[in-house]
């Protein structure tokens, strides 16, 4: 697309630093997702952090760099997958005789409170949400970032005839 200001990134130094930071941001995001049921945070917050990591990469290293790491098709696929994880987990409850949609089917009364493996389905739901939020927000960003800034030539029906 035409006239896009920063498809090329911000230069060597910024790009290198961004690449160093990438790992930290991802680890931090994943930990926010996983510990969402114990501390402030959760799937959405962690997903946002992860998406920010990829966005940083794209802004610093340019469109190509970001796409090489996480392409649009992948992002869309992961987004749908995250939603499907959520929906499947929700439907598990209905499979049981006295169960209900979205029921927390894994027993929660085991005294594992305050540890990572507690909360039944909640951490799993968090993972699904983290996955979909990270991919969908990154997808939105790349889509909006690559729209050309130059107006089209005046041509009455645009490109749609």
């Amino acid at each position: 697309m035409n006239g896009n200001p920063s498809n090329n990134g911000m230069g060597e130094i910024v790009e290198t630093v961004a690449r160093w930071l990438r790992g930290f941001i991802l680890v931090y995001g994943i930990s926010v997702v996983l510990y969402g049921h114990l501390s402030p945070g959760g799937g959405f917050e962690g997903g946002v952090v992860i998406a920010c990591g990829f966005i940083l990469l794209t802004l610093a290293g340019g469109e190509q760099q970001g796409q090489r790491f996480f392409s649009r098709r992948m992002a869309l696929g992961f987004g749908s997958a995250g939603l499907l994880i959520f929906l499947v987990l929700a439907l598990i409850g209905m499979g049981r005789a006295d169960g209900a949609f979205l029921q927390n089917v894994i027993g929660t009364s085991d005294q594992a409170w305050f540890t990572l493996f507690s909360g039944g389905l909640i951490p799993l739901l968090n993972i699904g949400i983290g996955l979909l939020v990270a991919s969908l927000l990154f997808l939105v960003f790349t889509l909006l970032a690559t729209v050309g800034t130059a107006p089209e030539k005046e041509d009455p029906e645009g490109d749609d005839s």
Partner: protein, 189 residues
């Protein structure tokens, strides 16, 4: 405490006035960010760290999107208002709703008296009392979001998905094919 919060809200209102009044689009975007970050601090003070984190994260993402959308495009200052009659109608409307709305807060419960104290059978009481025992989650907000009211969360992520599908649909390069043309199978780029 309440004074600090009031001052912060007043600051946010000042930033909001800049948002709607300034003629520079970039200033406007940055001021929205200011409103958002001030709100994040207020949420933190009001005992809502979860919301504050989300607010900051979302604010960052929206700012990136908004700056990206305005950069290189705001060729002209965003001056211009509706015509005079429109202005008068708009201001009257806003003032009327404002005056009417302010009235109702006279009958509102005192600030700081949460519904949980007034309504014994309010669901929030149950969430706090039994949240850990019945969901195994010490973070009650997560317990509400992902267990008690997980259906809302399903709806919420669906709205996000829906918006992304919408963005994909709206930003298609080629939206129509002439009749008799081959079926459209392209996946944007």
């Amino acid at each position: 405490m309440i004074e600090v919060i009031a001052i912060l809200i007043l600051l946010a209102i000042a930033a909001a006035i800049i948002v709607v009044e300034t003629t520079n689009l970039l200033f406007s975007v940055i001021s929205v960010g200011a409103v958002g970050f001030l709100l994040a601090i207020i949420f933190l003070l009001l005992g809502a760290p979860d919301v504050a984190i989300v607010q900051i994260g979302v604010e960052v993402i929206s700012l990136v999107i908004l700056v990206r959308a305005t950069m290189g495009r705001d060729v002209e200052p965003a001056v211009g208002r509706r015509d005079f009659v429109g202005m008068v109608v708009a201001v009257t409307l806003v003032v009327a709703i404002g005056l009417f709305g302010m009235q109702i807060f006279a009958d509102f419960p005192e600030f700081g008296s949460s519904v949980m104290e007034r309504v014994a059978q309010a669901p929030s009481n149950t969430y706090l009392r039994e949240g850990l025992a019945s969901t195994g989650t010490p973070n009650t907000v997560t317990a509400v979001l992902l267990d008690y009211r997980a259906y809302d969360t399903l709806g919420e992520v669906t709205v996000l998905f829906c918006a992304v599908m919408g963005v994909l649909a709206i930003l298609r390069r080629k939206a129509r094919v002439p009749l008799g043309g081959d079926d459209a199978t392209e996946d944007r780029k």
